[in-house]
């Protein structure tokens, strides 16, 4: 095995792999846990990887088994998706996660169009991990107003990302 090429490939594609785990689980803590287990398995199976083939499809396959194993270890009410739903979404998730770098690049452009207030809300919720309830209390706005604002920002970003992806796929 070419160790350097494996390290480069694993590191380069780790963000896409994390997005793949996140899209399967819809939960950041679970996604991180599964990502870590997946990376360990990839290391163990590194000798199986042919450096002349694409890394991501192989890594996604390993990740998928880890995710299914995670599903079986967890109580159903702790999971967002049912196992059959995750299986049904497999192709769509793989397609979206494969394009992660481009989508992230598009998102970075779209973020520049947001006003400061929107940016702060996203930062508080997704980086500082403040609950929407806490944000509502701190800002003096109602919980439903915060939820609606977040929803609109997410929709705005989604539309912008799709536009960017169409412009420069």
């Amino acid at each position: 095995m070419d160790e350097t090429r494996f390290i480069e490939a694993l590191t380069r594609h780790q963000p896409a792999l994390e997005a793949f785990c996140h899209a399967n689980l819809a939960n950041r803590e679970d996604a991180r846990e599964v990502l870590q287990a997946t990376c360990v398995k990839l290391w163990q199976k590194a000798a199986d990887w042919d450096a002349d083939t694409e890394f991501l499809p192989w890594a996604f396959t390993v990740a998928r088994f880890t995710i299914l194993s995670h599903y079986r270890d967890q109580k159903r009410d702790r999971l967002v998706f049912d196992e059959d739903v995750t299986r049904a979404m497999a192709d769509e998730i793989e397609e979206a996660a494969t394009a992660f770098d481009n989508r992230r690049e598009a998102l970075a452009k779209c973020m520049k169009k947001l006003d400061q207030r929107s940016w702060t809300l996203l930062h508080d919720h997704y980086t500082v991990s403040q609950s929407l309830r806490k944000i509502a209390e701190t800002s003096g706005r109602s919980l439903s107003a915060i939820k609606m604002t977040l929803l609109r920002i997410r929709q705005q970003l989604s539309a912008c990302i799709e536009r960017e992806m169409r412009t420069d796929p």
């Binding site: 590191t11 994390e18 819809a26 967002v80 998706f81 049904a88 992660f100 998102l107 997704y126 929803l151």
Partner: protein, 327 residues
């Protein structure tokens, strides 16, 4: 409509562990292929959002930090442990481990050895002169030079570098070339003296960032796709030697390298490009490069509206991560 419904249900499941919402969400995903596509993209984009915000937060923390550690004697002799291709791999691996451990921002905030210093780039904002940039590779510290480029003044008075034409910086004017590059040599010796760049318990990363913009130009339809890039090369050589032996000197004497590239369409939003590399203890010179590239060698071409501004070089010192190859 579908997207809004999915997002609302997802929010309810996550925030309130609402079982009816969970059931409804799963049923929607079972029944509607469109819902599965939207949900997959939404969650991948959510991860992109988290990743983007996390990076931005780290940048904010770096901006807030500014002090430089007092000088201490080096704990180990200056010796290169890895050649630079390996160094890149190790740097990448360090990033992977940091990501896996999920330490990111918290680690950066808590670490007493996490420090940031801006390294002076002469005329990095292009405000101190206007006109044509010197043609040819610079042979001294603190001067811009390279392929045809000029500093122009915009309507609001801001001065900005315009990349004019691709070329071979040490060759003939009609040599085939794929990019228009502007170079500056930066002296790193004082950084090595002020910081313990030889301390095995710390590592120093250099970040080169610049703001890129591509305005629409009449010739755009005849141009190939263009990418903007920032590059850093590290050397332990005299500036004039680097100038004389460029570009062969990179392969033969380079001790570090970092590059980041982004494609720009005409009229695209401005974007900041940041390239990073680990600072080897024996590196005394950083060669910083901002460039526009066509990706294919051809006779020199005019680039239209390709602009660069606010070139900054930052050094970040942080504890070295344990790195071990696992078989």
């Amino acid at each position: 409509m579908m997207e809004e419904r999915l997002l609302n249900l997802l929010q309810s499941v996550r925030d309130d562990s609402d079982e009816p919402s969970r059931t409804e969400l799963n049923e929607l995903l079972r029944q509607h292929p469109e819902a599965r596509t939207i949900m997959s993209r939404t969650l991948v984009d959510e991860q992109a959002l988290v990743s983007h915000l996390r990076d931005q937060s780290i940048v904010s923390i770096l901006d807030a930090e500014g002090d430089v550690a007092p000088k201490k004697p080096p704990k180990r002799p200056a010796k290169r442990l890895l050649v630079w291709p390996q160094q890149i791999a190790v740097a990448l691996m360090a990033g992977a481990i940091a990501g896996l451990l999920g330490v990111g921002v918290v680690w950066a905030v808590n670490s007493p050895k996490f420090q940031v210093r801006e390294i002076h780039v002469a005329n990095g904002d292009f405000e101190s002169f206007s006109g044509l940039v010197d043609i040819g590779f610079p042979s001294h510290f603190g001067q811009w030079g390279g392929n045809p480029a000029e500093v122009i003044e915009e309507a609001d008075g801001n001065r900005i570098l315009r990349l004019l034409k691709t070329g071979n910086v040490n060759g003939e004017s009609n040599d085939f070339a794929s990019n228009c590059s502007v170079f500056q040599l930066v002296d790193l010796s004082s950084l090595g003296q002020q910081w313990e760049t030889t301390d095995p318990e710390t590592q120093v990363t250099l970040n080169l960032s610049a703001s890129f913009r591509r305005k629409a130009a009449p010739t755009d339809t005849q141009l190939p796709k263009l990418a903007g890039s920032c590059r850093i090369y590290l050397f332990n050589l005299k500036p004039e030697t680097i100038a004389k032996e460029w570009p062969r000197v990179v392969r033969e004497h380079g001790v570090g390298f970092g590059k980041k590239e982004i494609k720009f369409a005409p009229g695209a939003e401005p974007a900041t490009i940041t390239a990073s590399c680990l600072l080897e203890s024996d590196a005394t010179v950083a060669l910083i490069v901002v460039a526009a590239s066509t990706k294919s060698r051809a006779a020199p071409i005019e680039l239209g509206g390709y602009f660069v501004d606010d070139v900054q070089l930052t050094a970040i010192r942080q504890p070295a991560l344990p790195i071990r190859f696992v078989r």
